[in-house]
C-alpha cells in the first residue's frame, strides 16, 4: 500500500500552487470572486437600486468592496465584469473607480520594513457568526493545493501562540465579549485580518437583529480580504501582506489575478 501511494504521488505531480512566485491561475480565482470593475455612468443609479448590500455608493462611481457579496445582480443593471472579453472593450468608455481594497496598511507598531513575521507566522481563526463557507475556505489553506507550511504559516489553537487573529463572520451579540477576550489574550505584537463581507461590513446579514457592527469597530483591523467567501488564494494574499512578503500594490483591485 505504501508503495502505491508513493507511485500515486509521483504520477500526480506537484499540485501546490505556484503563488506567490507566479500569478494565481484562473482556476484559483473563480469567476464569482471578482467584483464588477466598470459601469457606464447612466447605469449608476440603477446599480445602486439593485445592489442588495449598498456596495454601490450614492451617486459616486465608487464600489465598496467590503460590502460586495459578489452576487452579480448589478450585471443586470449594466455593470461590467471582467470575465467577458466584450465587456472589457465596453469599459473603455465606462468609468468606475473603486474604493481602496485594503482600507488600512499593516498599521501601528509595524513600519513597512518590519520583517518580524517573515519566517514563521501563527494564525488563529475565530468565528463570530459566519455561514461556515468562510471558515471552510480558511481551513482549505492547509490542503496540499495551497500548503501553508511551505510559506512558514501555521494554524494554532491557542490565542497565546497566535501572531494573527483571522476573524470570519458577521459579529453576533453573543460573540462580542468572546472576540475582545481572545484579542486581549494574544501576546504583542499582534495583527488582525477580517475575512469576507460579513466581517468587514456585515455583508448580507448587516440588517439582521443580532448583528452588532463591523469588526474594526471592536478591535483594530490591519488587513481586510473582501469576498463572499474569498477564495483561498485571496486569503493567502492577505496573510502574505501581513508577513510583508508581498507589496500592497500587488493586489490589483478587481482585475484577474488580483483581488
Amino acid at each position: 500500500m505504501v508503495k502505491f501511494w508513493i507511485l500515486h504521488g509521483i504520477k500526480n505531480g506537484i499540485l501546490t500552487t505556484k503563488y506567490p512566485k507566479k500569478k494565481p491561475t484562473e482556476e484559483e480565482i473563480p469567476a464569482r470572486s471578482v467584483p464588477p470593475f466598470a459601469a457606464p455612468e447612466s447605469n449608476w443609479i440603477q446599480g445602486q437600486e439593485t445592489c442588495p448590500t449598498d456596495a454601490i455608493e450614492n451617486n459616486t462611481n465608487s464600489l465598496d468592496l467590503g460590502r460586495c457579496i459578489y452576487c452579480r445582480r448589478c450585471s443586470d443593471a449594466g455593470f461590467i465584469f471582467d470575465d467577458n472579453p466584450e465587456d472589457r472593450h465596453k469599459s473603455l468608455q465606462a468609468k468606475i473607480s473603486q474604493n481602496e481594497l485594503i482600507r488600512k496598511e499593516v498599521a501601528g507598531i509595524f513600519s513597512k520594513k518590519t520583517n518580524i513575521f517573515r519566517k514563521s507566522f501563527h494564525i488563529l481563526m475565530i468565528d463570530v457568526g459566519s455561514c461556515n463557507a468562510c471558515n471552510l475556505e480558511v481551513l482549505n489553506l492547509s490542503n496540499p493545493y495551497y500548503d501553508l507550511t511551505r510559506l512558514g504559516i501555521f494554524f494554532t489553537n491557542s490565542p497565546k501562540h497566535a501572531d494573527v487573529l483571522v476573524v470570519v463572520g458577521a459579529l453576533n451579540k453573543a460573540m462580542v465579549d468572546v472576540l475582545k477576550q481572545t484579542y486581549d489574550s494574544m501576546p504583542e505584537p499582534k495583527l488582525v485580518i477580517s475575512i469576507g463581507a460579513c466581517a468587514i461590513s456585515g455583508g448580507i446579514f448587516k440588517e439582521t437583529e443580532s448583528f452588532v457592527s463591523s469588526i474594526d469597530k471592536v478591535i483594530p483591523v490591519d488587513v481586510t480580504v473582501p469576498g463572499c467567501p474569498p477564495s483561498p488564494i485571496q486569503i493567502l494574499q492577505g496573510l502574505l501582506l501581513c508577513m510583508n512578503k508581498i507589496e500592497k500594490d500587488e493586489r490589483i483591485p478587481g482585475s484577474k489575478g488580483g483581488l
Partner: protein, 447 residues
C-alpha cells in the same frame, strides 16, 4: 387546495409515535400545523399538531425564535454526585471550527452527558426575510449555511415556485440536482478528511482534501461559485447553457474523481488503526435514533430507512435511479461507510443526470409532482436531502408576493440530541470522532 402528490398525505394525527415522527411545527394564519414523517410508509403527513409532544420536540420548538442568547439543548435527568465533573467547551475551541459550545459532564474518563450549546451565531434569517421579495430573501437563505447552500436555495426556490404555480423547465430542475449532488460529495469528503485528521491518518486526510478541493473547483468551473451561491433563481437557474460538450467534460471530471476516490477507500479499509478508532465509537442505537428524530446519514447508519430523495421525490429524483444507503452497526464506522457509499452513489447519479439531461424546452409538471400548493393560504413547503439530512422549509407569501412567513427546519438542529446521546458512556477522546461523523454545523442549526 391544489393537487397533492402521492408522497404527501393530509390527515390529522392524534399522537406521534416512533414510526411517525414530528419533523416541523409552524403557525399559518393562527393555525398550528405539523409536518410528520411516516417512516414505515415513507410519506410526509401534513397534520394539526398532535396533542402529545415529546420532551425533545418541545425543547427544539421553544428554542426556535430567540436571537442573541445561547440555548442549552438539555433533556433528561440531572446528573450530579461525588466525582462528577462538569465543564464547558467553546465557543472558541480547538477542533470545532465554528462558534458554538458544549457542556460536558464527566465521571473520570467517561462522558456522562453532553449538552450542546447553540445560538452563538443566530442571525435570525427567518425573521429578517419577512416582508422581503423572494428574490432578495433568496440571497439570505442561501447564506444561512454556506456549505449546504445548494440544498437551501433549491428548497427555497422550489417552495416559491409551488406557491406561484410557475412553469419551470425540466433542465433547471435537473441542474439543481447536479448542484445538490456535487454539494453532497464535497461535504462528505470534508467529513472524511476531518475524521482522518483526527485519527492522524495524514495521507488519507491529504488525499481527501485534494479530492474535496477538486470538487470545489468543479463547482467554480461549471457553476461560477465554489460554494454554489447564486446559481439558483426563482423559476430557472443561471447555468442554462450546459451544452453537450460541457456536460461531457463534467462527466469526465467526475469519473477521474471517482477513480481516485476508490483508491482512497481501499486504503482506508485496509488501515487497521483507522478502523479500530471508528468501530464501536459513539453508538447511536436504532430506537434512540427514532425517538430523538435523527436525520440524514447519521440516521441511516442506525438503520433508519429515510432519504428525501426517495421519500420526497421531486423532479428529477423521481426519474433517476437512487438507492438508500443504510448500515446497522450504529457506530462512527457505519456513519463513515454510509457517507462513503453516498459519495459513490452520488457520482453515479451525476453521470445519469448529465447523460439524460432534458432539453431546455421541456417543461416540468407544475405542482403535482413537486410538492403541494395551498392556494387559499398561499403557502407551501419542500423537503430536500441536504448532505447532513432532511432540510424542510415552509414559506407563505402575502397577496403582493412578499414573504409573510418563513420557517426553516435545518438538519443539524435535530441531530444535536442524537449526537449527545451517542456520546454517553464513551471516553473523552471519542468526542472529536463523534462530532465530525455527524457532520454537524452550527451555522446550519443557528441560521
Amino acid at each position: 387546495m391544489g393537487l397533492i402528490p402521492s408522497f404527501i398525505e393530509r390527515k390529522d394525527v392524534a399522537e406521534s409515535s416512533d414510526s411517525i415522527q414530528i419533523s416541523a411545527i409552524f403557525e399559518i394564519e393562527g393555525r398550528t400545523l405539523a409536518l410528520l414523517s411516516d417512516i414505515e410508509k415513507k410519506r410526509t403527513i401534513l397534520s394539526t399538531v398532535p396533542s402529545k409532544l415529546s420532551e425533545e420536540a418541545d425543547i427544539l420548538l421553544k428554542s426556535e425564535e430567540k436571537t442573541g442568547a445561547q440555548i442549552n439543548l438539555d433533556t433528561g435527568s440531572k446528573v450530579e454526585g461525588y466525582g462528577v465533573f462538569s465543564f464547558s467547551y467553546g465557543p472558541v475551541s480547538a477542533g470545532v471550527t465554528e462558534a458554538g459550545g458544549f457542556k460536558l459532564i464527566t465521571y473520570g474518563e467517561r462522558i456522562v452527558k453532553v449538552v450542546p450549546q447553540i445560538n452563538f451565531k443566530k442571525r435570525g434569517v427567518e425573521h429578517k426575510a419577512i416582508g422581503m421579495k423572494p428574490e432578495d430573501a433568496l440571497l439570505l437563505v442561501e447564506r444561512s449555511a454556506g456549505n449546504f447552500s445548494a440544498s437551501y436555495s433549491t428548497c427555497f426556490v422550489t417552495t416559491i415556485e409551488n406557491i406561484l404555480g410557475l412553469q419551470v423547465s425540466s433542465r433547471s430542475r435537473w441542474m439543481r440536482a447536479v448542484a445538490i449532488e456535487l454539494e453532497r460529495i464535497y461535504n462528505h469528503l470534508h467529513v472524511f478528511a476531518r475524521l482522518s485528521e483526527t485519527a492522524t491518518q495524514n495521507v488519507a486526510a491529504a488525499e481527501a482534501n485534494v479530492l474535496k478541493e477538486r470538487v470545489l473547483r468543479i463547482n467554480a468551473k461549471y457553476f461560477g461559485h465554489r460554494y454554489l451561491f447564486g446559481f439558483n433563481r426563482i423559476g430557472s437557474v443561471y447555468q442554462n447553457h450546459f451544452t453537450k460538450d460541457r456536460r461531457k467534460d463534467l462527466v469526465n471530471d467526475i469519473k477521474n474523481i471517482t477513480r481516485d476516490f476508490s483508491h482512497l477507500v481501499t486504503y482506508f479499509l485496509s488501515s487497521r488503526i483507522f478502523l479500530d478508532r471508528l468501530q464501536n465509537t459513539a453508538r447511536l442505537p436504532h430506537l434512540d435514533a427514532l425517538k430523538l428524530g435523527a436525520v440524514g446519514p447519521s440516521a441511516r447508519a442506525s438503520a433508519i430507512d429515510w432519504d428525501d430523495r426517495i421519500t420526497y421525490p421531486i423532479e428529477p429524483y423521481n426519474d433517476i435511479f437512487v438507492e438508500i444507503e443504510t448500515e446497522d452497526e450504529e457506530d462512527t464506522m457505519s456513519r463513515t461507510m454510509v457517507r462513503i457509499r453516498e459519495i459513490q452513489s452520488s457520482m453515479l447519479m451525476l453521470e445519469q443526470l448529465l447523460d439524460r439531461m432534458p432539453s431546455d424546452e421541456t417543461m416540468s409538471d407544475k405542482t403535482s409532482d413537486n410538492g403541494l400548493n395551498y392556494m387559499q393560504d398561499n403557502f407551501s413547503f419542500c423537503r430536500i436531502e441536504s448532505p447532513s439530512g432532511d432540510l424542510i422549509q415552509v414559506v407563505q407569501l402575502d397577496k403582493e408576493g412578499y414573504i409573510k412567513f418563513l420557517h426553516i427546519r435545518p438538519p443539524s438542529l435535530v441531530n444535536w440530541l442524537p449526537f449527545a446521546k451517542s456520546l454517553e458512556g464513551n471516553v473523552f477522546t471519542d468526542f472529536q470522532f463523534a462530532y465530525e461523523s455527524f457532520g454537524l454545523s452550527y451555522a446550519d442549526s443557528d441560521r
